[in-house]
């Protein structure tokens, strides 16, 4: 069991499922097609659990479950995969969210379109998995771009009236970022040849490359630009509200919960290890953008009249926290940022899917159309409140642990910046509770009168998310046990140590 | 053996072929011009083969001929198809690529 190529299988299994679902004739019935898709996603989850059981804590190797096959020998490109703590956690997030999203979106699309929709989701899962396990920069880049294709169709075909425009905007932004990234990737490769005499895209080889600070700066700029579009940081964010606002809730969850994580993931996996000196030197820029994003996103969320746009802006704010933690260069900050990536995926799913249930019932995403929905859908109101509180980082939920550790880690190095960022939790309370107040309380509006409360299927789809969010809020340490070696490794790669305690006489 | 003359001849034929492509409107005549250009390059190949003293140039010329033959077949078929729908062999009439 131990020597199976788990990671390649995790990439291939959903892809096979996707092709199979594509191939099933529609005449067989939408329910069967959907069941096959869901089955594949559950199978993938099972495979992930098996793979996770092979993962060992406390080993010296950075990457585990590694595989390495030659791909394009002439350029030193290989199909090389492996996971460390961060990769494993992201894989877990993907494996959990996809079945949840499929189940939640069971009736979001018409029966004729269901097969293609579900197949595209599975395809996306495959590509995103490849991104998260690639330890070869070229392979990472390829899947970084390829995953846009299913996403483009998911936004452009299954959203509201503005979906096509939004999909094109999403694609153009991503492609611009990807193009700059490509330039960076090629440049790294060329420089690696100049320095060592042979070119390779292997991560470890590139991380040990002795790049000059000058070229590191340029490469940092290129990589950071691409990842900041994906993450997204203000002012490169404007595609996200459109994309999330125009797509169906399930797609928005995949987009924000998983796809955007590639940006912050890329920062930790490639940006910091490959360009450590430049990262430390240019961190203030990243931190400034991060704090800007936190407040900008939160303020825009308050000003939003559309639920999905609001949630998209909330996510921009949250990505600000993640980037803040990454560039604080403390163990707590980086571990917290990685934990944030996990918890943000969960809280996004909780809020988006629950709100999606409501929007599906009223066929409107305008906040003002919903009022007093509590009277007709008390259970759904509970889930929406849970989602809102989760995005507020209420203590006792996973998002609190994440946000607090990020702020704590930042505070240790940049107290003023962290203090300013902490003020963001007040603004967060305003947007989240105001959303709840405007949608759930008061006298029922016409739109919500007579709608049905949440169904059993919908509860089942959301329960794992809710359970995980609470469980990780009280028992986060298993996740930190997995993540801490990664943050220690990153700290070592950027050559930073945690600040000492301030007390007189040392620690 | 001075092959420069052959090269010059080849260039002249190529240029005349190019002018043919650019100024003649009859698709069939245009096609003949293209054939002429291909032949001009063939001549250059053969001349180079002679100059370099090996047969590779001749083999390439041979392949060019084969490809040209295939191309003529397809090209003429296309011209016939166009003629059938538009009742003309004028290349200017087939301007659907206009932006």
């Amino acid at each position: 069991m131990t020597n199976l190529p788990y990671l390649s299988m995790l990439i291939l299994l959903p892809l096979i499922g996707s092709l199979l679902v594509f191939a099933i004739p529609a005449a067989l019935g939408a329910v069967r097609i959907k069941s096959v898709a869901l089955g594949f996603s559950l199978l993938t989850f099972a495979l992930f659990v098996l793979a996770g059981l092979q993962f060992e804590l406390g080993t010296d190797d950075q990457f585990q479950l590694t595989e390495n096959y030659e791909w394009i020998g002439a350029f030193g490109v290989s199909w090389s995969v492996g996971v460390d703590g961060l990769g494993l956690v992201m894989l877990g997030l993907v494996s959990i969210l996809v079945p949840v999203v499929l189940l939640a979106a069971w009736r979001d699309v018409t029966d004729e379109a269901a097969g293609k929709f579900f197949a595209l989701v599975l395809m996306l899962q495959s590509f995103v998995t490849a991104v998260f396990v690639a330890t070869d920069l070229f392979m990472f880049y390829v899947f970084f771009e390829v995953m846009l294709i299913p996403m483009y169709f998911l936004i452009g075909r299954y959203g509201n009236a503005d979906r096509r425009k939004a999909a094109v905007k999403f694609l153009i932004f991503s492609l611009v970022g990807g193009l700059v990234l490509l330039a960076g990737v090629i440049s790294v490769w060329v420089q690696s040849i100049q320095i060592t005499g042979f070119g390779s895209f292997d991560l470890e080889y590139l991380a040990n490359l002795d790049l000059s600070v000058e070229s590191q700066r340029w490469l940092f700029a290129a990589f950071f630009f691409a990842f900041a579009i994906k993450a997204p940081l203000v002012p490169l964010h404007s595609w996200l509200p459109d994309a999330a606002g125009s797509s169906s809730p399930a797609v928005a969850v995949l987009l924000i919960g998983i796809l955007d994580k590639v940006g912050t993931y890329g920062m930790l996996r490639f940006l910091l290890p490959m360009f450590p000196e430049a990262s430390v030197e240019l961190a203030p820029i990243a931190l400034t953008l991060a704090v800007l994003s936190i407040f900008y996103g939160a303020v825009m969320a308050i000003g939003s009249r559309d639920m999905k746009r609001l949630m998209a802006y909330v996510s921009i704010s949250h990505f600000g926290f993640i980037v803040l933690g990454i560039f604080a260069f403390t163990t707590q900050g980086i571990s917290g940022a990685m934990f944030y990536m996990l918890s943000h995926g969960l809280s996004t799913a909780a809020l988006f899917l629950a709100a999606g249930y409501l929007m599906h019932r009223t066929s409107s995403s305008k906040i003002d159309d919903h009022a007093g929905a509590f009277q007709t859908t008390p259970l759904l109101a509970g889930f929406i409140l849970f989602g809102a509180l989760s995005s507020v980082a209420l203590p006792g939920l996973a998002s609190f642990i994440a946000e607090f550790t990020v702020l704590l880690g930042t505070f240790a190095r940049y107290p003023v910046l962290a203090a300013v960022a902490t003020l963001g939790i007040v603004v967060a309370a305003v947007y989240a509770l105001w959303l709840y107040q405007r949608t759930m309380t008061g006298h029922p509006s016409d739109a919500v009168t007579g709608i049905k409360d949440i169904s059993g299927r919908e509860v089942i789809a959301l329960s794992p998310i809710v359970a995980l969010t609470i469980a990780l809020g009280f028992v986060p340490q298993p996740a930190f046990d997995i993540l801490n070696p990664t943050s220690a490794k990153v700290m070592e790669q950027v050559n930073q140590v945690d600040p000492e305690a301030l007390i007189e006489g040392g620690n | 053996m001075d092959v420069t003359n052959y090269i010059i001849l080849s260039a002249i034929l190529f240029s005349i072929g190019a002018v043919g492509v650019l100024v003649r409107r009859n698709a069939i005549v245009m096609f003949m011009s293209i054939e002429l250009m291909l032949n001009a390059t063939n001549l250059a190949f053969v001349a180079f083969a002679r100059a370099n003293g090996n047969f590779d140039g001749q083999v390439v010329a041979f392949f060019v001929m084969v490809v040209a033959a295939a191309e003529v077949v397809i090209g003429l078929a296309i011209i016939m198809a166009i003629f059938r729908t538009r009742k003309t062999a004028s290349i200017d009439e087939a301007n659907l690529l206009r932006a």
Binding site: K169, P235, S238, Y296, V299, M300, I302, G303, T331, Q332, S335, G336, G372, F374, A381, L389, L394, P395, G396, F400, L407, L408, F411, A412, P415, I425, V426, A429, V430, L433, W434, Q437, M440, T441, G442, H443, F474, V475, P476, Q477, F480, N484, S487, A488, D498, P499, A501, L502, I503, E504 | A18, L22, I91, D92, A94, N95, L96, L97, R98, A99
Partner: protein, 642 residues
């Protein structure tokens, strides 16, 4: 005897013991009400029938266990009375290590007894009060959730876990204030409470972060070990941040504005959360952080200033309120101001702060329940101007309320006399100004409480036509009676033989105050002030009160009616300002960010329009372009070779 002069000064002497025996089951205290909350909230409508009863049983069970643990604790020698139970490793990242640990020491024990005791009574009361409410299962679920969170707050052995309980009670408070979801005012009040509390949370968060940065620990034990090594600035800042947190939760100026609005919730909630327990969490936090405050006089001074301002502001607002619950809420604010002030006095005041907190828990909860009983009788009317002469129809309610009234006034031998007078003495010890303020506060309290009780139970009948007041059922009156008993006896019991001092001093330390004025003189001064307040009220309200509030009132009354313009300031500065920021950002996003994206798009479109002109569709044009390109490339090659 109120003082034992043998008790001069005690310094904190407890060290944590690993919990064994029955203390190892400490977690049950929290788990019981949490279990109740989970059953009721997850069980759905199936639990409608037995849910409320189950919910009421849970805090009672917790209370029983708490009493048992209390007796166990009493049996231990003084220095072993801090039991520390570490359940599991909570967070461990590098040097940031936080256990999921509970700590039971005399301070938290006092709170546990108060919370579970008063909590149980209010659960029982609610069985009667909420009897007709169709959604009461949810209500009881929230109540249980609150009790669990509050217990976690006081039992946590570190600041981060305290924070979890802190927010848990905030959440429960939010849910309960907004319990009447269909009322927009309730929803707005709930949100306001949460948001204002969040401002306080920022303070608490920053305090915890600073503690970690300074000391690399956030446990109470760790902080008190290392606090002495901290620099003055760090200690002051931690104290200040903690104060912000405490001000948010305890409705202290400038974060007081949410408490009066919070009265939108059902009355038992006001009694339990917004009078007896949650709002005192700030006092708990300050007393718990005594190791920080003892080392920073500047931080103590900040606490004192906040306490003084709040006690006066609350009393001032209380004078003008016609809404019975809001008047009581203003009074709560003021009384907590006393506690905070006392907590700011250091070892002199900690014990008194807690003592006042406990007695206040009894009499204020009792009065709130009384107010609830009145409202229950008057079709949920809260305007005192529509009450009057109720003492005859609601004898038990009036009796219990009157006991509470005497207690809050500080009439001997009721509970408030012991606790409040001690605070006044301690305040004089620190500063004359603070002392005078407390004295003044006592007088104003006497005035507005007399006004309240006169307008409600005495004076002329001003009822609405459809009002048929009647005494409340036993489930409601019994808790009121029990709380009244507490209001009478608690003060004496807590001071008898210096019991509370001996009990708490190992945690907080103690020092006897030495006010510049002789203590009997002070007592006389206090009682005189109170008597003056009562007299004015009787003169104004005993006979007759207007059915409609007069409008030609002084500027001070107007200010008090408007909560001293707290909301107006909030609205002008934060809401309007916030709105402007939101609008501004939205405009920037639309014009600058989106605008630049659109601008790039437009440039691209324009360029493509120009280039499109070259796409004539004529094959021969394309061929020409191709040939031109080939020629240029050749030319380039030729040039490069040259």
């Amino acid at each position: 005897m109120r003082y034992s002069f043998a008790l001069e000064a005690i310094s904190p002497s407890l060290t944590n013991q690993v919990a064994t025996g029955s203390f190892a089951n400490l977690w049950l205290l929290i788990a019981l009400p949490l279990f109740g909350a989970l059953v009721l909230l997850l069980g759905g409508n199936r639990t409608n029938s037995f849910g409320p009863l189950l919910a009421a049983l849970m805090p009672i069970a917790s209370f029983g266990f708490a009493v048992y643990l209390w007796l166990e604790l009493l049996a231990l020698p003084e220095e072993l009375r801090s039991q520390n139970l570490i359940l599991f490793e909570w967070i461990n990242i590098g040097s940031f290590q936080v256990p999921f640990g509970l700590q039971l020491d005399p301070l938290s024990m006092s709170f546990v007894l108060l919370i579970t005791g008063v909590g149980s009574l209010i659960h029982i009361y609610s069985l009667g009060y909420m009897d007709h409410d169709p959604g009461k299962r949810r209500f009881f679920g929230y109540l249980n959730l609150f009790v669990a969170a509050m217990l976690l707050l006081v039992l946590a052995d570190n600041y981060l876990l305290l924070y979890v309980g802190w927010e848990g009670v905030g959440l429960a408070s939010y849910l309960l204030i907004g319990y009447y979801q269909h009322k927009p005012s309730a929803a707005a009040a709930a949100k306001k409470a949460f948001v204002v509390n969040r401002v306080g949370d920022v303070g608490l968060s920053l305090a915890i972060m600073l503690m970690f940065v300074a000391f690399h620990t956030v446990t109470f034990a760790g902080i008190s070990d290392k606090a002495e090594q901290g620099s003055a600035t760090v200690l002051f800042l931690i104290g200040l941040f903690l104060l912000v947190g405490a001000a948010g939760k305890s409705a202290q100026v400038p974060l007081q504005s949410w408490l009066l609005d919070a009265m939108e919730g059902p009355t038992p909630v006001s009694a339990l959360i917004h009078a007896a327990t949650m709002v005192t969490a700030g006092v708990y936090l300050i007393v718990r952080s005594n190791s920080i405050y003892d080392l920073s006089v500047a931080a103590q001074n900040a606490v004192i200033v906040v306490g003084v301002v709040t006690l006066l502001a609350g009393a001032f607002i209380g004078m003008a309120k016609d809404d019975i619950k809001k008047a009581l809420a203003a009074s709560t604010m003021s009384q907590i101001g006393y506690m905070v002030l006392a907590a700011g006095l250091g070892p002199i005041g900690y014990v008194y702060a807690i003592m006042h907190l406990l007695t206040h828990g009894f009499f204020k909860a009792g009065m709130f329940l009384g107010a609830g009983s009145v409202m229950h009788a008057m079709n949920d009317e809260v305007d005192m101007r529509k009450f009057g002469a109720l003492r005859a129809v609601m004898l038990i309610t009036f009796g219990t309320f009157f006991v509470g009234y005497l207690a809050i006034l500080g009439v001997p031998p009721f509970a408030g006399f012991y606790s409040k007078d001690l605070i006044i003495e301690a305040a004089f010890d620190r500063s004359i100004i603070a002392g005078i303020a407390t004295l003044l506060g006592a007088g104003i309290t006497a005035f507005y409480m007399s006004r309240l009780i006169l307008m409600t139970f005495f004076s002329n009948k001003r009822w609405e036509d459809d009002a048929h007041p009647h005494e409340s059922p036993a489930t409601m009156t019994i808790p009121m009676i029990l709380l009244a008993v507490g209001s009478v006896a608690s003060g004496y019991l807590l001071t008898f033989n210096d019991s509370l001092k001996h009990w708490l001093a190992p945690v907080t330390g103690y020092k006897t105050p030495e006010p510049p004025i002789a203590i009997p003189v002070l007592i006389a001064m206090t009682l005189t002030t109170v008597a003056i307040g009562v007299a004015i009220a009787i003169r104004m309200y005993l006979r007759q009160a207007d059915r409609v509030a007069p409008t030609n009132v002084s500027i001070f009354t107007k200010a008090a009616r408007k909560d001293l313009y707290g909301d107006a300031i909030n609205e002008a500065v934060f809401m309007r300002g916030g709105q402007k920021v939101v609008n501004g950002t939205t405009t920037v996003d639309n014009s600058v960010v989106e605008g630049s994206v659109r601008f790039i798009g437009r440039i691209t479109l324009g360029l493509s329009k120009i280039i499109r002109a070259t796409q004539t569709g004529y094959t021969r044009n394309y061929a020409l372009a191709m040939l031109l390109g080939a020629s240029l490339m050749l030319l380039l090659a030729a040039i490069v070779r040259l």
